[in-house]
């Protein structure tokens, strides 16, 4: 899309209400246009001097950086470098940990490489069947559905979402039982003779070990645990045999067993012979604007640019050479662990609003308040910015150059269309300003194109190799990474000949169902699940400032089955409290007959007493460190 006279004009793909109204934020009266020091307007120099002098007084690992999956590749790259080179801290992570980390970990295990879709998005148009596990694109990215018009849809979601309403087959598992369902489908596929034995033996390893577990999940047993009927399981695997795609979303990934959940879906895809072939495959659907690029270039606790591992000596040597340094810190802690760490003095937050978006939000707010120094870079006064000692006003989408990497691994140019308001600077300038005061100005460039040139070198030879990409090429052609040289055409489809493991084979990962970290009990008999609504985005810091979107969805609500509401003495439209072991949310009751009577749904876009994340459980996945956003035990009360 583009901006003409401040008005949004759509590209060929279509826009939802958020896209149409995105222009409103560019000239919003609530726009931050001056740095704030303890709430008072100050000059950029004064704010930068203050922050730098404080930082100098701390030990490196007492300073943390918290990034965002909405930042451009250039910003994400420079932020990782800033933390490790200028701050010399190991303490950096980002909100993508709450988003894509489980899918990324499982993709790496199975394929040796993680790219959201290892095929072009448009390939989906020729699919017979698309299975969406825990994804609701009819609300989270409506234009995406245009690619699915020709396919039969299988939607897996405990809720009857707008996406589920469009499905040929909607499987409604109990919250937290996706892994059991995936095991049951694998079992059923074997029983129905639908697995691709030739593919399994020639392109994969580990089927037998994965099967030993799936063998214990016959359809009737799976039905008992998940509530999905054996007949529907059979129908689903028959629909999937053929030109099919299995796609995962946050619903299945945001669990303490998120990585295993995704591994189970990938196992199913491998058994059916879908990945690494034209016309079928597995992929995960990115959550944030730059969810893919944001996880490739080093703002993750354990990662260096080019999707390199921070603990890999060869990777460290390469990056140290590109950066001209002789030392790098090791891996740090994951997002939630960072947000609640009690040994930190300072945190710098870029493009994120963790006070609303992190699990167990009250604890996070408490810890951030206890910091000696909280710095936030944003373009509106988010709830986290409102707590900060220093706020820096930065540019947004239409005001800056840069690149983003979309869900299919395609690098997209962002072109500056407008000058930012006076007083607003790019995050790159902010990073440079701090770096200069910390004695390494020359290592932090401010022009996006120059930063991208450096990123090219840093990513060269890595898994996500951008070295053959230039801004000029992006103006002329579509490029999917890896692009290892300027005459390389890019890689729209990965894995056609071989997977990225050394032996070229994909790996089945043996995983078993464990169930939710916090099962319901007498005191908290319901299961809460959280998610997005169409009109709002993430913590709502942006969309709650757009009049048209707020008119459509103005306040926090909770979806419940009418019976569940009436048992709590509630009816539609009344205020209610939803209570978990960690907190209490105030929300307006919406009775939804298609809800399971033992589950409630809360959107996570609202602040204050309406923060769904006051309830959520910060139980972390052992591999991805993903918190269990999608299921926790609650009860419903009259407010």
């Amino acid at each position: 899309m583009s901006v003409i006279d401040g008005q949004v004009a759509p590209g060929p793909g279509g826009l939802c209400q958020k896209g149409w109204t995105a222009g409103e934020l560019l000239r919003h009266p609530g726009r931050l246009t001056t740095p704030l020091l303890h709430g008072e307007p100050v000059s950029w120099d004064e704010a930068l001097d203050f922050v730098a002098s404080r930082i100098r007084s701390y030990e490196p690992d007492e300073v943390a950086v918290f990034g965002g999956g909405g930042l451009t590749n250039e910003k994400a790259y420079l932020l990782g470098k800033f933390a490790r080179v200028a701050l010399k801290t190991s303490q950096i992570d980002y909100n993508g940990r709450f988003c894509m980390s489980s899918a990324a970990a499982a993709g790496n295990k199975a394929f040796g490489l993680d790219r959201g879709l290892p095929f072009p998005l448009t390939d989906l148009q020729s699919a017979d069947t698309v299975l969406l596990a825990g994804s609701n694109p009819a609300e989270t990215m409506p234009p995406f559905l245009r690619h699915l018009e020709g396919a039969r849809l299988i939607v897996i979601d405990p809720r009857r979402t707008p996406t589920a309403e469009r499905a040929t087959l909607h499987l409604q598992p109990a919250p937290g039982t996706d892994l059991a369902l995936a095991l049951g489908l694998l079992h059923t596929a074997v029983m129905e003779g639908l697995i691709d034995k030739e593919y399994i033996s020639s392109r994969t390893t580990g089927f037998d070990d994965a099967w030993r577990i799936a063998a214990q999940w016959w359809p009737e047993h799976t039905e008992r645990v998940t509530g999905v009927s054996a007949a529907d399981q059979r129908a689903a695997v028959h629909m999937l045999a053929g030109r099919s795609y299995i796609l995962t979303g946050r619903g299945t990934e945001q669990h303490a067993s998120g990585t295993d959940n995704v591994s189970a879906w990938i196992n199913l895809a491998l058994a059916l012979g879908l990945p690494g072939r034209a016309g079928s495959g597995y992929g995960c659907l990115t959550g944030q604007g730059n969810g893919q690029g944001g996880r490739e270039h080093g703002q993750k606790a354990d990662q260096l640019p080019g999707y390199r591992k921070l603990d890999d000596p060869v990777a460290r040597q390469h990056i140290m050479k590109v950066w001209g340094v002789d030392w790098l810190p090791g891996p740090g802690r994951s997002a939630y662990e960072l947000l609640v760490a009690d040994d930190l003095k300072a945190m710098l937050v870029f493009g994120s609003n963790p006070v609303v978006s992190a699990p167990r939000a009250s604890r996070v707010a408490e810890r951030l308040k206890a910091l000696d120094l909280l710095v936030v870079a944003d373009f509106v006064m988010s709830e986290t910015a409102a707590m900060a000692d220093v706020v820096f006003p930065v540019t947004q989408w239409a005001e800056e150059d840069g690149t983003m990497t979309n869900l299919e691994g395609r690098i997209i140019r962002r072109r500056k269309a407008l000058d930012p308001p006076a007083g607003v600077r790019s995050d790159l300038h902010l990073i440079h300003g701090l770096a200069a005061r910390l004695g390494c100005a020359e290592k932090f460039l401010t022009e996006p194109k120059e930063v991208f040139e450096e990123l090219r070198k840093a990513s060269a030879g890595g898994l996500s190799d951008y070295s053959g990409i230039t801004y000029e090429r992006l103006d002329a052609e579509q490029l999917h990474w890896p692009v290892p040289s300027v005459d390389h055409p890019g890689t729209p489809r990965l894995f056609l000949d071989r997977f990225a493991h050394a032996d070229g084979l994909a790996k089945f990962i043996p995983v078993d169902h464990k169930g939710p970290a916090e099962p319901p009990d007498e005191e908290y008999p319901l299961q809460a699940t959280t998610g997005r609504v169409l009109q709002h985005y993430q913590s709502g810091a942006q969309t709650r400032r757009v009049g048209e979107l707020m008119k459509a969805v103005p306040e926090m609500y909770v979806e419940v089955h009418p019976d569940t509401a009436s048992r709590a003495g509630l009816t539609s439209g009344e205020p209610a409290h939803v209570v978990s072991r960690r907190g209490r949310v105030t929300a307006t009751v919406r009775c939804v007959p298609s809800m399971r009577s033992d589950a409630v749904f809360l959107p996570f876009h609202f602040p204050g007493e309406g923060r769904a994340n006051l309830l959520t459980n910060p139980a972390l996945d052992p591999t991805s460190r993903m918190p269990e956003f999608k299921v926790c035990a609650v009860r419903l009360e009259r407010a």
Binding site: G14, W20, P137, P162, G193, E220, S229, A230, A552, S597
Partner: protein, 484 residues
């Protein structure tokens, strides 16, 4: 280091070994299995008979498992004696490896997971010299399945003795192979433990449509090899093969010999202890007041509790019984039965609903007490079966709309005509565009799809509302309504 010896390498014994290893890498584990091959999933035998699963696919472990998990596995061995005083077991030698008798194996904890053996009805000729006669096979082991497979062909007459859960699964599998199956059952309706007569009769009708015949209230009197069975009423049923599936008996002989307390099975308490606190029993051979034998779920639950205790992972773990949900595994027949199903519809202190549609193979009965499901039979309504099982297992109050629950998935409402929609109905969800806004835009001159899209943004998101908007356009064009 603690030494655990498990007698029996079936589903219970194998599961216990897995659960122990998952909790403790060091604990010493010995398993003694009577069959010569690795443990397999007995639940899947009906799919092997049906030909949809290979025997290999049912293996719970592969041949590398024992070595890979540091487990002393002795296959094809029998425990000859338990010496409770010295806490050792004497085992027959490993075929081809040791002599006729191996060294006594010491234990700190002994677990009996000896399972059960098929019960053979006392008809003349079924048993010869203590073994099943030629042409008679039980339905219990992988070897049985291989024999059934070898001895049947399309059009072969086969009798299944027993119309319980396993008998029906076997019959369905054999019918799927093209055999001419007759089920001989001593009671007046099928699966009488789990079904009431109404459900039994609908089930028989459904299976009848799949080619299976029934002789109810009938006992086998005499077996004529190669010819068939004479029933107790004197009639003759032809059979090239007789499959015995008339129930099982707990395998308790070793326990009896060791002087443990035995009733129908080996008596165990809530920590799966027998009358000797060093000896435990799980699975089909055990008798715990909270469960019935013959199903795998109790064995799995017991294995988890026992592993918690033997490894010290959770010394407070207790086995409190397993609520039983019977689920028939037979293609094209969807049957679940749970809890108390024998309550009558006019029972004063329960709420009982019943629905019958025999011509379509549907039968549903729901028993509720205090809003909770306490029993149900659901035949021919897969969605209802899944939902009702969840309500039962999780103790969730049943929805107030009992009828919808009983019938399964509520049918989707028919698409409303544009004329009937209220003005506030949202047509384009992506852009929150209501019918009223579209009508207004149309009145203001936007009379084509592109014009409407430009005026309201409807259809510019996911595109899913295009048909609805076109429908509105047609309706507006045809009816020229004065108001929306």
């Amino acid at each position: 280091m603690r030494r655990v010896v498990i007698v029996g390498y079936g589903m219970a014994g194998a599961r216990l070994a897995d659960e122990l290893r998952r909790r403790d890498q060091d604990i010493s584990i010995t398993i003694i299995g009577a069959e010569p091959h690795a443990a397999y999933n007995r639940v899947l035998l009906s799919t092997v008979v049906a030909g949809t699963m290979t025997p290999e696919s049912t293996r719970l472990h592969d041949e590398k498992w024992a070595a890979g998990h540091n487990i002393d596995l002795r296959l094809g061995c029998e425990v000859l004696e338990i010496d409770r005083g010295s806490r050792t077991v004497t085992v027959s030698g490993t075929p081809g490896i040791t002599g006729p008798e191996s060294e006594p194996i010491p234990y700190d904890a002994l677990v009996l997971a000896t399972g059960s053996t098929p019960w053979v009805p006392p008809a003349e000729g079924l048993v010869e010299d203590g073994k099943l006669a030629p042409g008679v096979v039980a339905f219990r082991t992988l070897d049985d399945c291989a024999e059934i497979e070898a001895k049947t062909h399309k059009g072969a007459p086969v009798v299944v003795l027993g119309g319980g859960l396993l008998g029906i699964e076997a019959a369905r599998g054999l019918a799927g192979r093209g055999c001419l199956v007759t089920v001989v059952h001593p009671v007046g309706h099928l699966m009488e433990r789990q079904l009431d007569p109404g459900a039994g009769s609908v089930l028989a009708r459904t299976l009848g449509q799949l080619g299976i015949e029934f002789r109810l209230n009938a006992l086998a009197a005499k077996y004529l090899p190669g010819d068939g069975l004479i029933l107790d009423d004197g009639t003759h049923v032809p059979a090239e093969l007789v499959v015995v599936s008339a129930g099982v008996r707990a395998e308790t002989s070793l326990a009896v010999k060791a002087g443990l307390e035995v009733d129908r099975g080996i008596i165990v308490d809530d920590v799966l202890r027998t009358s000797d606190p060093r000896i435990h029993a799980i699975g089909d051979c055990a008798q715990h007041p909270g469960t019935v034998s013959g199903l795998v779920q109790p064995a799995w639950d017991q294995a988890a509790v026992l592993a918690d205790r033997l490894t010290g992972a959770n010394p407070a773990a207790r086995y409190r019984g397993t609520s039983v949900v019977t689920r028939l595994k037979a293609r094209d027949v969807d049957l679940a039965a749970l809890g108390d199903v024998h309550t009558d519809v006019d029972c004063p202190d329960s709420e009982v609903l019943c629905f019958q549609e025999p011509s379509r193979g549907r039968y549903a009965k729901l028993v509720l007490r205090d809003d909770r499901v306490t029993g149900a039979i659901v035949l021919g309504a897969p969605d209802a079966a899944a939902t009702i099982t969840q309500l039962y297992d999780r103790g969730i109050p049943a929805p107030t709309d009992r009828l919808a629950l009983l019938l399964g998935r509520a049918l989707p409402a028919e698409a409303a005509s544009p004329a009937d929609l209220p003005s506030s109905a949202v047509i384009c969800r992506c852009n929150t565009v209501s019918k009223g806004q579209i009508v207004s835009a149309w009145r203001a001159g936007a009379e084509s799809l592109p014009q409407l899209a430009e005026a309201t943004r409807a259809t510019t998101g996911c595109g899913g509302c295009k048909d609805a908007v076109c429908g509105l356009l047609d309706w507006l064009g045809a009816s020229q309504p004065q108001s929306a």
